[in-house]
């Protein structure tokens, strides 16, 4: 099959899976039917069944994921529309994000260490709370496996989008800015895609949280991980 045709087919199948998964979610509204989760699962099953490897699929796939960059830029529009609301809470947001970043790196790294993960896995786990390009960069700097980090980032994001709203309800989070900030910092862009469904304030704060969380983690993860590795003498 020609390369262009294969790429076009990959794009068409991806869009079809997405549209079908969205209809399914619109019909039943069950969190486990998260469109992203359903579409990813369906495509993996399909690729396995057809004996197509990921690299071949991704020739078309990356023409879709390319738009993640411009989509993050587009979050500048709700960010601008909600600027006053966000500025009033700016200091509280900085404090929450820094605390979230430290807790995220420490809890994830400690869990992996205590469960006996090899050093490379521990180092790949540390930056999992932030958006894919930042997380992979941090993992590389630490000496982890960037692709494993990408997998963790995406599965954390899907988990956040699926379970996050219920957890936040249990925690009695009623503030819309706190809701958005929590989703964006725990589940980055995938959490933001879910937050956008909730409303403009949630979407904008969630988008902002991606950037703040990424920045905080890029700066804080390396020293925190170094200290933890030393305390638990992981080799």
């Amino acid at each position: 099959m020609g390369d262009a045709l294969a790429a076009a087919l990959a794009i068409a199948v991806t869009v079809a899976a997405y549209l079908a998964a969205r209809r399914l979610y619109a019909r039943f509204r069950h969190p486990l039917l998260n469109p992203l989760l359903v579409a990813i699962t369906a495509l993996i099953v399909l690729l396995y069944a057809a004996g197509i490897d990921y690299a071949e699929y991704d020739r078309g796939g990356r023409l879709i994921s390319y738009w993640l960059g411009p989509a993050v830029v587009a979050l500048g529009v709700p960010l601008w529309a909600q600027m006053e609301e966000i500025a009033r809470r700016g200091r509280a947001m900085l404090v929450s994000i820094i605390a979230g970043s430290v807790v995220g790196v420490v809890s994830g790294t400690m869990t992996a260490i205590l469960l006996g993960a090899p050093r490379q896995v521990v180092l790949s786990v540390a930056p999992r709370s932030v958006t894919t390009p930042i997380a992979m960069g941090v993992a590389q700097k630490l000496g982890g496996l960037p692709p494993l980090t990408a997998v963790l980032v995406i599965s954390s994001g899907v988990l956040g989008a699926v379970a996050g709203p219920a957890v936040l309800r249990l925690a009695r989070i009623r503030s819309r800015t706190a809701w958005g900030l929590a989703m964006g910092s725990a589940a980055h862009g995938i959490g933001t895609a879910r937050a956008v469904e909730e409303g403009e304030v949630e979407g904008a704060t969630s988008g902002l949280a991606i950037g703040l969380m990424g920045l905080a983690t890029a700066i804080l993860a390396p020293p925190i991980v170094a200290v933890l590795l030393r305390i638990f003498s992981v080799r």
């Binding site: 699929y57 500048g76 979230g100 994830g108």
Partner: protein
């Protein structure tokens, strides 16, 4: 169906989306350049997001230039995560060997961040 919509209306819509897309792409590449030049630990897309919000605030870019294209991309953000998500299949082998620490670290870390940020932020907002 298409015959009833005046060609001018369709043309204007296509033009607006194309213009919005070009503006977003321009900010994306500008953000990438700034991030690379200043060695920022933040990816260019996030820098571009902040630059776009600033440009809208200072009226360098009128909001109607980007609204349509931005709404379209944000509304379908989940679609864009599908291909990297399918990439999980490449690591099934490693995941099978080390699944417990990997899954546990992911779940614990996600829940911890979600709760800490949500509860702390709401608490501080109420304190004023």
């Amino acid at each position: 169906m298409w015959g009833r919509i005046p060609a001018a209306v369709v043309g204007a819509k296509v033009f607006a989306l194309a213009r919005g897309t070009l503006v977003l792409l321009a900010f994306f590449y500008a953000g990438n350049a700034v991030s690379a030049l200043l060695h920022l630990p933040v990816p260019g897309s996030v820098v571009g997001m902040v630059m776009l919000a600033a440009a809208l605030h200072f009226r360098v870019v009128p909001p109607h230039w980007v609204r349509g294209a931005a709404d379209l991309l944000i509304g379908h953000m989940q679609l864009l995560y599908i291909p990297p998500g399918v990439g999980v299949m490449v690591y099934f082998g490693l995941l099978r060997r080390e699944w417990l620490p990997i899954v546990a670290a992911g779940v614990v870390g996600m829940l911890a961040v979600l709760m800490v940020v949500g509860i702390l932020q709401q608490w501080m907002e109420r304190r004023g």
